[in-house]
Every structure is written in structure tokens, then in C-alpha cells.
């Protein structure tokens, strides 16, 4: 048996490899038989955030079906890798869980862009992050930012803590220890979750926002599915995860102003409309200072940007980027993202503003 597995492993690798290659080929031929009026052709390379992997897969598939001459490759290697590849010109566009900082912007800093061109940050993907919990006998839980920060920072350790009870007077909270589950891997979800806590509850949450969990110790799980598994299989647990992955768990309502909001698509998408834009950027750059305290807005969201050039060195690349990103910010593209990845579609108003920005790409 041991011997067989020794021989079997390389063979299995070869098989898996060839199947993966076959899968790529099939992907590229998607819709090869359909006719389309599109005259676009070429290859577009994108790289970046893994948070929008599922949405990008759907978008590339749909886009390639509509434009049979075009191949779009999006490799979800992470936001940092995406930004790096965009700067070096290895990627035509980047997906990033944050906009480029002022120090990273500027004409001539991007190898794929024209010498006089800076980059544009376009928020194209909004995903609400749900606070999920599993406590025996509790289905509704209301939390405010200070309490949530206290739970995850480890200063609130019991479910029947006075602060939780004050928000949930009618819930039968047990006198049990809280197990707060966080991500063990570097992730945009953690980045945005900690950004929310440090922005809204700075007195309790004293750490800077970080993609890696900033506190030592505590319950950690790998990836969104790992957190969901840990919360589901544990007792008296609480965690945070993409809303789309949390279908079978109870989700906490978060206090914003005087009301408690659930992580719905509508409430999450509003954050892009309500937030102010970063000062000193070009008219068509939509880098945002996310306002996580705005009324009526579910505040714990992940916003991913598509980073593109104002003007590409290669006009044919510009045409492809305009068509592809234009599709992403369209109503169709946003609906496709919602169906495939559970993201929150941009509002109609935001769609038209981003359309204008995309049209300005040269």
C-alpha cells in the first residue's frame, strides 16, 4: 500500500495538473460558439484581492462570453501582490482591498501607464461582513461598536456581561465564556473589520487596523470557511465573515446612530454613496474615506477597488480595460457579482458616476 501510494502520488499530481490545464482551456473557450457583435480582441491581465475572486470569476466568464475574442485573466494572489504587479506593469489592472495611498499615486509611477498618467481607484466590489454567533437559546443579538470591540479585544469575556445585557435585555444570555473567533490568515476581511472597530470604538480598540489579527492569542481559524466552521461547531462562539458565507448562522445587528442594522446588501452598498472622497485626487478617482458612522449604513463592509491607469501606454489595452471594468460597474455586472459572490450591488447613482470615470480612461 505504501509503495502504491509512493508511485501514485506523482501520477496523481500529473493527472491533477493536466486536469487543471484542461480547465483553463475550457474556461477560455467559454461561449466560443456564440456569435457576438463585439470587435474586441486581446488578453487582459488582472491581479489582486482574493476577496473578489468569486465575483471576478463570474465577471471574466460573462465578459468572455459576450466578447469571444478577449481573454481576461484575474489571479487572486492578494491585494499587495496585485498593487505590486500593477506598479511594475505586469498586470493591466489590480484588484485591491484598499485604494492606493497618496504616496503611491503620481504620474510616471506605473510602468503600464503613459508617462503623464497616474492611476484611478474605482470601488467596484462591496461585501458586507457579518458578525456571526452561536449561543444556545439566542437568535437575536444587538451589539454596538464598543461592545463588539470589547468582545474581540478580550475585555468582555462572558455572554452575560452587563454591557451585552444592556443592549439585549430580553435575550436569555448564558453565563458562559465567549469564544471570539478571528482569521488566522492575512485577509481583507480582518483589515476592514479592525478598521471599523478602530474608527468607531477607538477607546476600546486600541490597535491599528491590520490584515493580520493584531492581538496575540485567541481563537483563530483559517479562511472564511474556517471561521464559519469554528463558530458553527463550537459553543458560545462569535466571529466575523463575509455575509454571503454566513447563511446558516445567526447574525448580530450592529448599532449605528440610534438604530440597529442587519448586514443587508442595501444597507452595505450605501457606504460608498455616503462616504467622502479622498482630497486632492483627480475628478475620476473614487478613492474613498469610508464613513463607518454614517446613518443608515451598515458599517462593517469590505470595499475592493479596481485600480486602472488614467491613460494606458497601449491604446488597445485601454480599450479592453474600459470594456471590462465598464461591464463590472454596470447594473448587469453588479447583479452578476451579487448572484455569484453575494456582494452588495452599487447604487444606480454610483454606477453612473463610475461609468463616467471608466469612460475617461484613455
Amino acid at each position: 500500500m505504501l509503495k502504491i501510494s509512493k508511485i501514485g502520488a506523482p501520477v496523481a499530481l500529473l493527472l491533477a495538473g493536466s486536469m487543471a490545464l484542461a480547465g483553463c482551456a475550457a474556461n477560455e473557450q467559454t461561449g466560443g460558439s456564440t456569435t457576438s457583435g463585439s470587435s474586441l480582441s486581446g488578453t487582459l491581465t488582472g491581479k489582486g484581492a482574493s476577496s473578489m475572486k468569486a465575483a471576478q470569476e463570474k465577471w471574466t466568464a460573462d465578459f468572455q462570453t459576450a466578447n469571444t475574442g478577449v481573454t481576461v485573466n484575474y489571479s487572486p494572489d492578494g491585494s499587495g501582490a496585485g498593487r505590486e504587479a500593477f506598479v511594475s506593469g505586469a498586470a493591466n489592472f489590480a484588484g485591491s482591498d484598499r485604494a492606493l495611498k497618496d504616496s503611491e499615486m503620481g504620474a510616471g509611477k506605473f510602468a503600464g501607464c503613459a508617462a503623464s498618467s497616474s492611476a484611478l481607484n474605482l470601488p467596484v466590489y462591496i461585501s458586507p461582513i457579518a458578525v456571526v454567533f452561536k449561543v444556545d437559546g439566542v437568535t437575536d443579538l444587538k451589539l454596538d461598536a464598543d461592545t463588539l470591540a470589547g468582545i474581540f479585544a478580550g475585555t468582555i469575556t462572558k455572554w452575560d456581561d452587563a454591557k451585552i445585557k444592556a443592549l439585549n435585555p430580553d435575550a436569555g444570555l448564558p453565563s458562559a465564556n465567549i469564544t471570539a473567533v478571528h482569521r488566522s490568515d492575512d485577509s481583507g476581511t480582518t483589515q476592514n473589520f479592525t478598521e471599523y472597530l478602530s474608527a468607531v470604538a477607538p477607546s476600546v480598540w486600541t490597535k491599528d487596523p491590520d490584515g493580520q489579527w493584531p492581538f496575540p492569542g485567541g481563537e483563530a481559524a483559517k479562511g472564511t470557511s474556517g471561521v464559519i466552521d469554528a463558530v458553527t461547531n463550537g459553543t458560545n462562539t462569535i466571529g466575523y465573515a463575509d455575509e454571503s458565507a454566513a447563511q446558516n448562522l445567526s447574525k448580530a445587528q450592529i448599532k449605528v446612530g440610534d438604530e440597529f442594522l442587519s448586514p443587508t446588501a442595501e444597507a452595505a452598498a450605501k457606504i460608498v454613496d455616503q462616504s467622502s472622497r479622498v482630497d486632492g485626487r483627480a475628478d475620476n478617482d473614487w478613492a474613498l474615506n469610508l464613513d463607518r458612522k454614517a446613518a443608515g449604513v451598515y458599517p462593517i463592509v469590505l470595499v475592493s477597488y479596481a485600480i486602472v491607469c488614467e491613460e494606458y501606454k497601449d491604446a488597445s489595452v485601454a480599450t479592453l480595460v474600459k470594456a471590462y471594468v465598464g461591464y463590472i460597474v454596470s447594473a448587469d455586472g453588479q447583479a452578476a457579482g451579487q448572484s455569484a459572490a453575494g456582494s452588495a450591488p452599487l447604487s444606480a447613482d454610483m454606477q453612473s458616476k463610475l461609468k463616467t470615470a471608466v469612460d475617461s480612461i484613455k
Partner: protein, 327 residues
């Protein structure tokens, strides 16, 4: 070849050299087999060298970058960053070994000396099958089945034995503790240790066993006097192979263990020291530039630890061989 140096004989007249000097007839199979086996032997050395070179080259930035830059752009200063994970790797593997070895030896002895022959064969086959289960499956089993099932045990251990530092602290609410990870690892290394020790026990000279029995030893005394001393070197090397597997196991640990960068010896809490392999697996997808170098340098450290374990094992085996029953 020594045959080439023999004096050439006239073409048609067959000489009569001494019988030991008759040139061997060259057969094509011989040279093909020799080339193949030499090639295979060389290939493994080349692959090992290439892996080591890759690790070294990619790890250099993590080892040479100044401390302040490492703190700014990486996970932290590498020499201090890696220490907890190196500890966690050894710690988890040691627990796995501690749990697996007694069971593995028991199974091996049962198969080789106690079980009826037909049962022994079937059981041996089943144990080997365990080795064929993918580690992802073990990981899933660890999260979904084992962790929740172990929670009452952990609560009990903590309540009654909590005064021992190992079992202290606040019990995990999910069961994804170091002990759970160690149990999963133990199950994974069980087949290797069992198969090897079973083979070693079967090699015990029948004369030793029969002599022991003839002197009036019970079966357990016979095992104690003849089988175990004879197999000692084999047991050690089997354990070291198992330990090597446990040290390098990635997926199952990454899925099961709730890991962090804190050094702790408590094995029932949510806070556990992560292993190097799991840290690499968890962070590599989003790592770039210096962070990637640091993770690969972590791989280099793991490589060195595993190498050290294997060398220690060889040293022990070599030392034991002198007075084991084998000669």
C-alpha cells in the same frame, strides 16, 4: 572495467586464460539497469540540492534585510518572529508522537505476536489504508467531528487537572486546541510507525523467542526479553520517520489548530502556538515581497529542523545497533 585491460587475443583462436579471468559477457540489461539506477540515485540528490538552493536563495532577503525594514515591511524581525513557530512545530509533533507511539507499538505487537494470522493480515492492511487518507480529509474530520467531540473531555481535564500547567487556562469553546491537532497528527503518523515496527518485530529470530518460551517465560516476558530489545533500533527509526511527517504536516494543522504567535504550553485553550508549516500555508496566499521571503525562510528553518531530527535518528540507530539483538 578490468576486463578491458586483458590482452587482446587473436581473432579466431580462443585462448585459455585462468577460469577466473574469463571476460564476462556484456548484457544490455545490465548496462540499462545500471544507468537507470545510477540516474535515479543522482536525481534524488540533485532534487534535494535544488530544493535547498531554492530555499536559501529565496530566504536570503529575510535574513539580510535590516531589522527596521523587516519590522516595517514584513511580519516582524525574522529571528524573533520565527521562534514561536519553531517551538510550536516541535511541540505539536512531540505530542503527536507521545500519543501515537504506544498505540502503534501495541498494534504492531498485536499483529505480529498475538492476533490470529488471518485477522493480522486484514488489520495490517487496514492500518496501511490510513496512510492513503488525504490530510485535508483528516483536517475536515478534525474540525467537524473530533474538535466538538473532545470538548467535554477538555472541560473535564481542565476542571480536575487544571492545576497542572499543561491543562490550565480557559478551555477552548471550539475544541480546536493543540491536543486536538496532536490527536489528528497522531492518527496520521500511526500507519508509518505501525508498518515499520510490525516488519521489525516479525524479523525477531524465532530461536530467541522459542528460547525465551522454553525457559518458562510468558508471552509478555518473551516479548519483553526478545522482541523489544531486538527491535529497539527499528522502533526508534520508525518513530523518527513518524516525527518527520508530524513536523512537516501542513494542511491538517492549518485547518484544525487555532494558532497564534504566542509561546504557550497550555494545550486546552484557544491560544496555541502555530506551527511553521501551517503559518506558511495560512499567510502565503496574501504574502508578497519581503513577507514571502520571510515565509520561505521559515520553510528553510523547518527544513533544518527536519534534517536535524533525521540525523539524530540515524545517530541513535547507529549507536543502538552495536548491542541490539540484531547481531
Amino acid at each position: 572495467m578490468s576486463t578491458d585491460t586483458l590482452p587482446e587475443s587473436p581473432a579466431d583462436v580462443a585462448p585459455q586464460p585462468p577460469s577466473s579471468l574469463i571476460p564476462a559477457k556484456k548484457r544490455i540489461g545490465d548496462s540499462v539497469f545500471k544507468t537507470l539506477s545510477t540516474g535515479a540515485g543522482t536525481t534524488i540528490l540533485v532534487i534535494l540540492a535544488l530544493v535547498a538552493a531554492f530555499l536559501l536563495v529565496q530566504a536570503i532577503p529575510a535574513l539580510t534585510t535590516p531589522q527596521d525594514q523587516q519590522l516595517a515591511n514584513g511580519y516582524g524581525y525574522f529571528p524573533t518572529w520565527i521562534v514561536p513557530f519553531a517551538f510550536g512545530t516541535v511541540w505539536a509533533a512531540a505530542w503527536a508522537l507521545l500519543l501515537a507511539v504506544p498505540v502503534a507499538l501495541g498494534i504492531a505487537l498485536f499483529i505480529s505476536h498475538y492476533a490470529p494470522r488471518r485477522l493480522a493480515q486484514g488489520l495490517g492492511y487496514l492500518i496501511d489504508l490510513l496512510a492513503a487518507v488525504p490530510s485535508v480529509v483528516f483536517g475536515l474530520w478534525g474540525i467537524i467531528v473530533l474538535a466538538p467531540a473532545m470538548m467535554p473531555v477538555y472541560t473535564w481535564l481542565n476542571a480536575y487537572l487544571g492545576w497542572i500547567p499543561l491543562f490550565g487556562g480557559q478551555v477552548s469553546g471550539t475544541g480546536r486546541t493543540l491536543l486536538t491537532a496532536a490527536v489528528v497528527l497522531a492518527v496520521m503518523i500511526l500507519p508509518i510507525i505501525t508498518s515499520l515496527t510490525r516488519e521489525v518485530f516479525l524479523q525477531t529470530p524465532k530461536l530467541h523467542e522459542e528460547a525465551a518460551l522454553a525457559l518458562g517465560a510468558t508471552r509478555w516476558e518473551m516479548v519483553k526479553m526478545s522482541v523489544l530489545p531486538f527491535g529497539r533500533a527499528g522502533i526508534v527509526s520508525a518513530c523518527m520517520l513518524g516525527l518527520g511527517r508530524a513536523l512537516g504536516e501542513t494542511m491538517a494543522v492549518a485547518m484544525v489548530l487555532s494558532g497564534s504567535d504566542v509561546i504557550t504550553i497550555e494545550i486546552l485553550t484557544s491560544t496555541n502556538t502555530n506551527t511553521i508549516a501551517a503559518t506558511i500555508a495560512q499567510n502565503f496566499p496574501e504574502a508578497f515581497a519581503l513577507k514571502q521571503n520571510q515565509l520561505i525562510a521559515g520553510g528553510l528553518v523547518l527544513f533544518v529542523i527536519t534534517l536535524a531530527v533525521n540525523m539524530i535518528a540515524r545517530w541513535i540507530v547507529a549507536r543502538r545497533a552495536q548491542y541490539s539483538g540484531a547481531n
